[in-house]
C-alpha cells in the first residue's frame, strides 16, 4: 500500500539509502524502514540519527534530506534520504552522489565525516 506525502521521518517510514554501501544497494524485497528516531520527539529532521531495519538487520543512519519543507532557505528533497552509519559514527559507504545540505555543518553533531564523503552540496 502506498501512503501520501511523508512528513519528515518517523517510525515505519520507508527511506532511501543514498551512499554506496553494499547493505544499502543490494536489492531486497522490503524497502528499508525506520524503526526508531533518536530524538525527544519521535520525528526526525535533517541531521538526526535513526535506527533502520535493512535486510533483516538493524543499522543506525543519519537523515540528510526529507520531503517535508523545513525552515526558510533550506533545501527540500523529493525523497527521504539517509546515510548508513555504524554505532561509533563512521559511515559505512564511501561515496555519496546525492546533494547534501549545508545545514549539517552548523548543527551540533558528528557530520564532518558524512560531508567528507559527499560530492555535491546544496
Amino acid at each position: 500500500s502506498i501512503s501520501g506525502t511523508c512528513q519528515a521521518i518517523q517510525k515505519l517510514t520507508r527511506v532511501r539509502v543514498v551512499d554506496n554501501s553494499a547493505l544499502g544497494n543490494t536489492p531486497y524485497h522490503r524497502p528499508p524502514k525506520c524503526i526508531h528516531v533518536y530524538n525527544k520527539t519521535g520525528v526526525g529532521k535533517v541531521g538526526d540519527k535513526i535506527l533502520l531495519a535493512i535486510k533483516g538487520e538493524k543499522k543506525k543512519a543519519l537523515i540528510v534530506g526529507h520531503k517535508m519543507p523545513g525552515p526558510h532557505m533550506t533545501p527540500r528533497f523529493d525523497s527521504n534520504n539517509v546515510v548508513l552509519i555504524e554505532d561509533n559514527g563512521n559511515p559505512i559507504g564511501t561515496r555519496i552522489r546525492t546533494p547534501i545540505p549545508y545545514i549539517l555543518r552548523r548543527r551540533e553533531g558528528e557530520f564532518s565525516k558524512v560531508l567528507a564523503i559527499a560530492r555535491n552540496f546544496v
Partner: protein, 134 residues
C-alpha cells in the same frame, strides 16, 4: 602577539613536529563552498591520532580568541577516524587502513572523475517513489 591560527603553514609545521605520516593538504576551490583547505593525516596508532587531535585543539584555543566559535573533535568513540572542523580548515586524522578504504584525497582532487563514484553509477529511483509536485 602570536600570528593567527588561520595559517596553513602553521598547521603543517605542527603536524610535522608531531611525526604525522602522509600529510595531504588539498586546496578546495571556492565553488565548493565547504572550506578553504582540506587536510588528511595518517597516524601510527589510535593514541597517536587522539594525541594529535587534542594538541591541535589546544594550540587553536590558545591562539584564537573571539571570532570563531568553539570547535569540537568528532569521532572520539571511533578508533580509526577523527576529524576537526576549524571553519576554514577541515582536518581528518585516520589510520592508514581507513585512509585506503575511503580515499578522501581522490574524491576531493578528482571531483567527478573519481573512480569510486563511477563504479556506483547505476542508481535508479526506488519502486515506491512518487514524484509529488506539491
Amino acid at each position: 602577539t602570536a600570528p593567527p591560527k588561520f595559517n596553513i603553514d602553521c598547521v603543517v609545521d605542527l603536524l610535522r613536529q608531531e611525526n604525522a605520516k602522509d600529510i595531504c593538504v588539498i586546496q578546495v576551490p571556492p565553488e565548493i563552498k565547504y572550506c578553504d583547505y582540506f587536510i588528511v593525516v595518517s597516524g601510527s596508532s589510535t593514541r597517536h591520532l587522539h594525541a594529535m587531535a587534542h594538541y591541535m585543539l589546544k594550540v587553536y584555543k590558545h591562539q584564537k580568541e573571539e571570532s570563531d566559535p568553539h570547535t569540537r573533535i568528532e569521532g572520539k568513540e571511533t578508533d580509526d577516524w577523527l576529524c576537526i572542523d576549524f571553519g576554514g580548515i577541515v582536518m581528518h586524522f585516520m589510520l592508514p587502513e581507513a585512509r585506503e578504504t575511503y580515499e578522501l584525497e581522490k574524491l576531493w582532487t578528482l571531483g567527478s572523475y573519481d573512480d569510486q563514484l563511477a563504479q556506483m553509477t547505476p542508481q535508479s529511483l526506488p519502486e515506491d517513489f512518487i514524484l509529488d509536485l506539491t
